[in-house]
């Protein structure tokens, strides 16, 4: 039994080339989900390798790779990690899990779903291929501010074809995620199983829903900005961002860019929050505390996320500071509610700590730092000091690396058994978790101190005195600790795919519909749907199956008063 991969039985009699064609032409949401996830993980390895080179450059004063290479690396590290890893890997999990969670046979538009994936793959390869062109990749930062990213006006270092490839690549990625968002919205609104009312949707599906709205509303603004910059750069008569004489406005780009890219932060963090909201109840053996307030918090974050974009521009001298300060402070409230609810879910629960739960708790403990350091930036005068220093670098990595990426890793450990049919090895998983947890803190905590001391971001070298060496060295060591933890993780995936313990349908005693079918699920997802009477249909089903034999606690009716 151990010699054949669990996904393979269907291909038993097929030639390898037919299997490949099958995957290249698939419209099955599960296969597309896996394609997304593994493509994104591949890009993440590239982006991660770039960060190791950067940390090596910064470990000591003096330069090894020089400024132009460094600028390309940090630009592509950011672009890859955001556009080619976190966004698409989340899209992969949504693809795989959301139709299962709502009891649907597939996405609403399977072919458009495949189109989204292939646009993502094509746009990503386009962006990364820019290294092969003269002048190298884009090097204006993932934020690509003109005039640095322009090749007109007074800019002394006009950037080459890499920037155009970057712009076009991001437009294509934007088109992919817009199509994906339409698909998710339609799926969630139209393909829910009988009984699956909006307030019985699993939290991960709720975050997918709100995220898709954000994508749909924000991405066109980014696309227009990208096209305007492309027109500016390519002599097509544009001067949208060129202030020299033709009425262009430099800051217009920042407004348009952040009008997308701040909601994009929530696009990146909401799905991992959804993952954590799935995992914590399962491994606390309790329902999610305050389901409705969780949903309201997600919606609140989504709404507030649209009116805080200019907090990236506090030092530009071009925004109305008090408004954006107030809205930015306010967004701490729904985030705080979520924290209280997660903690209360574990409170008086029966907590177990498999790797998936460890990463979820790691998310809580470290995303908290990302959230709290955000409050420092919200206080505008403090941001005058901290903006564009390593404090911001640390803040955004606590949010996106130990927040979003930890949530994604939790999702990998949680749903791998469903997708592959076998459990990931717990020993290797714990090794991975602890090196990631310890390494990330070694990596990012010293950066808070560097930022407080005034070390700017996006520099490839710093003065050989002034106390920045030690913290930079610790940070670099931390980066390698995190990287070392990736080895057991990758090995674990390859090993457990073939030799892992068989998972069965529901290895975690979970609550939601994706666990009420086989692992991996059949092409049509469900042979038979269980009834949905609360946000925990599978829990209810287990209670019914076991009669009243689940102990005194089962006296509490599974379908709680909350579920309307």
């Amino acid at each position: 039994m151990a010699t054949v991969a669990p996904t393979a039985p269907g291909y038993a009699g097929m030639r390898a080339v037919d299997v490949i064609i099958e995957w290249l032409s698939t419209t099955d949401h599960k296969k597309i989900g896996l394609l997304y996830i593994f493509t994104a993980l591949g890009f993440a390895l590239v982006g991660g390798a770039f960060s190791l080179v950067m940390r090596t450059e910064l470990a000591q004063t003096g330069t090894i790779i020089g400024d132009e290479t460094y600028n390309q690396l940090f630009t592509m590290h950011g672009s890859i990690m955001l556009f080619l890893f976190i966004l698409p890997v989340a899209a992969g999990f949504m693809n795989y899990i959301v139709p299962l969670q709502i009891g649907a046979p597939d996405m609403a538009f399977p072919r458009m779903n495949a189109l989204s994936y292939w646009m993502f793959a094509f746009g990503g390869i386009m962006m990364v291929s820019s290294f092969a062109f003269s002048g190298g990749s884009a090097s204006a930062g993932w934020t690509s501010y003109p005039p640095v990213a322009s090749n007109t006006g007074a800019n002394a270092q006009p950037l080459g074809a890499g920037t155009d490839l970057w712009l076009v690549g991001v437009v294509i990625l934007g088109a992919a995620s817009t199509a994906g968002a339409i698909n998710f919205l339609t799926t969630i609104f139209k393909l829910r199983a009988p009984g699956m009312t909006m307030f019985r949707l699993p939290l991960f599906t709720w975050t997918t829903l709100v995220t898709s709205f954000l994508v749909l509303l924000a991405t066109p603004v980014l696309a227009s900005a990208l096209i305007m910059l492309f027109v500016d750069r390519n002599g097509a008569g544009g001067a949208f961002f060129d202030p020299t004489g033709q009425g262009g406005q430099v800051l217009l780009w920042q407004n348009l860019f952040w009008f997308y890219s701040h909601p994009a932060v929530y696009i990146m963090i909401l799905p991992p929050m959804g993952v954590v909201s799935e995992i914590i109840p399962v491994f606390s053996r309790k329902p999610l505390f305050g389901y409705r307030s969780m949903v309201l918090a997600i919606v609140g974050i989504g709404l507030l996320g649209f009116i805080v974009w200019a907090h990236h521009m506090f030092t530009t001298g071009g925004v109305f500071l008090p408004f954006f300060m107030a809205s930015t402070f306010l967004i701490a409230v729904p985030t705080g509610v979520k924290f209280f609810n997660w903690i209360s879910t574990m409170f008086r629960g029966a907590v177990t700590l498999p790797t998936a739960m460890l990463f979820a708790i790691g998310f809580l403990m470290l995303f908290l730092i990302g959230g709290i350091t955000g409050v420092f930036h919200a206080a505008v005068p403090v941001d005058f000091h901290l903006h564009d220093t390593y404090f911001v670098v640390s803040h955004l990595h606590y949010v996106l690396a130990t927040g979003a990426a930890f949530g994604i890793l939790a999702a990998v450990y949680f749903w791998f058994p469903k997708m592959i049919g076998r459990l990931l090895n717990e020993g290797l998983g714990k090794l991975h978790f602890w090196s990631a947890f310890i390494g990330a803190n070694m990596l990012f905590w010293p950066q808070l101190m560097l930022g407080l001391d005034g070390m700017p971001r996006r520099i490839n070298d710093y003065a050989p005195y002034g106390g920045w060496e030690l913290m930079n060295l610790i940070s670099t060591v931390g980066a390698f600790v995190v990287a070392a933890g990736m080895i057991p993780f990758l090995f674990n995936i390859l090993y457990s795919w073939k030799y892992g313990e068989e998972a069965g349908d529901d290895p975690w005693e979970a609550n939601t519909l994706e666990w009420a079918t086989s692992s991996p699920p059949p092409a049509h997802n469900f042979d038979r749907l269980i009834p949905v009477k609360s946000e925990r249909p599978l829990f209810d089903h287990r209670m019914v199956e076991s009669g009243t034999g689940a102990g005194s606690a089962s006296a509490t009716q599974p379908a709680a008063a909350q579920d309307g």
């Binding site: 209360s344 206080a379 070298d461 102990g551």
Partner: protein, 439 residues
């Protein structure tokens, strides 16, 4: 158990503060050297205390709960779905905290951004950012003002002034003036007015009403040959220095020539961007006490990514006590006035530029104008004496080598392709540089 947790929280908080104390000032922003910085640092401390309490409390709660409520057997725990009262409390409590923080931050923001009362003496220093260095310009009283409206956006304007004699000793083209926050170049002195070139650097040509004061701008020539970064001294490019008074309000006018930069001095706890097409004002009151007449230095650098050599766009703030600053200012002004004297009449017999003037023999008068219209003076000084850039007065290089330097700079100098500055223009500027004494 609750009491134990509270004790644990308190102990952890104390341990954390003690650790920060041992690690040293890096756990906090640097000691502020301005009144604005002091305000910002106070706000930081308030936010820090709130953050530390929340941080420690939540982390302790998480760790405590996963140990205290570990699964011990198959009994299903009580299936609580929520608690309306608790949820209201923990929605309202953070809201109250952030609203309080907002109000306090808003008050501090008002203080930090406030401009001084009218009549209070202010030292205006203009900061020009360009890839990848800084120019600092000081303003001297000229005792003259506009007597007509200077309209918006004109490239060259004729302007009536109240006291034309004020310009008598100033050379055309070499002299820059400031009207409000706009920089203009003196082109010609007429009987009752002056002709000025506009949009000569990062500042914007705006409308100025009649009666606007006109200031003489001069570059500070102080630089610091310190080794801030490994590459710097190899290129022979010293760090530009901005000299500022302690005890008098300083107004920095921030403008960018090419791309966005950010003027950041960590010890001010304050940065503001230099945005092309805009001029920003930043007010600071330096307040460090017990500074000797030699002053103190604070290090700063560009904080907004600005292209290839962003990491090396450094500057140094040299803070002087007010009387030492006044002395320094007067010396610098006297030197500047010497540099800005009009050129002597060309020697008799010199041919004006015309058909005969080939690329090899340039026209020094035109060359001098080009030197300023092309902005060479910003780095190389008004008389090619050097500054941020190298000394080039009376250069020993051949014309071909100079042209090559324009096209393929060997250092931080921007590239000037032939369609921007043609060979003939370089020949003219070269001819003017040859008339200057080499230094």
């Amino acid at each position: 158990m609750l009491r134990l947790t509270i004790v644990a929280v308190a102990a952890a908080l104390l341990a954390m503060l003690a650790t920060l104390e041992v690690v040293g000032a890096q756990a906090f922003p640097p000691q502020a050297r301005t009144e604005q910085g002091d305000e910002i640092r106070t706000l930081y401390m308030v936010v820090f205390i709130v953050a530390a309490v929340v941080f420690v409390a939540v982390e302790i709660a998480i760790v405590y709960i996963i140990f205290r409520y570990r699964r011990r057997g198959d009994a299903l725990p009580k299936q609580t779905h929520g608690n309306m009262m608790a949820e209201v409390v923990w929605t309202v409590t953070p809201a109250v905290i952030v609203i309080a923080l907002f109000v306090y931050s808003f008050i501090i923001l008002e203080n930090v951004e406030s401009s001084p009362d009218a009549g209070e003496p202010v030292e205006t220093i203009d900061v020009l950012g360009r890839q990848w260095t800084w120019a600092f310009r000081y303003s001297a009283e000229l005792n003259t003002a506009t007597a007509s409206v200077l309209p918006e956006g004109e490239a060259q304007s004729t302007l009536a002034v109240t006291n034309p004699e004020a310009f008598a000793e100033l050379a055309p083209f070499t002299t820059s003036l400031r009207i409000d926050v706009e920089h203009v170049r003196l082109v010609e002195v007429q009987e009752d007015g002056i002709v000025v070139d506009r949009a000569i650097d990062g500042t914007v040509a705006e409308e100025h009403p009649s009666g606007s004061k006109i200031w003489l701008l001069f570059d500070g020539t102080e630089t610091r040959a310190e080794e801030r970064l490994g590459g710097l001294e190899e290129d022979g490019v010293p760090t530009p220095v901005v000299t500022v008074p302690i005890g008098k309000t300083v107004r920095f006018n921030l403008a960018a020539v090419d791309v966005i930069h950010s003027f950041y001095t960590p010890e001010f706890l304050y940065k503001l961007d230099l945005v092309p097409g805009r001029v920003h004002a930043m007010w600071v009151d330096l307040n460090e006490e017990d500074v000797g007449p030699e002053g103190v230095y604070y290090e700063g650098q560009c904080a907004e990514f600005c292209g290839r050599e962003h990491a090396r766009m450094l500057f140094t703030v040299h803070a002087l006590p007010l009387d030492a600053y006044t002395e320094w200012f007067d010396t610098q002004l006297a030197e500047a006035l010497e540099r800005l004297k009009p050129l002597p009449e060309p020697p008799p017999g010199a041919e004006p530029a015309g058909e005969a003037a080939s690329a090899a023999v340039g026209d020094p008068v035109r060359g001098q104008q080009l030197f300023f219209t092309n902005g060479c003076n910003v780095c190389h000084g008004d008389q090619g004496e050097g500054g941020i850039g190298l000394t080039i007065a009376g250069t020993a290089l051949a014309l071909e080598e100079v042209i090559d330097q324009y096209r393929n700079p060997r250092d931080q100098m921007p590239v000037f392709p032939p369609d921007v500055i043609p060979d003939e223009d370089i020949a003219d500027t070269y001819a003017w540089l040859q008339t200057l004494p080499s230094q």
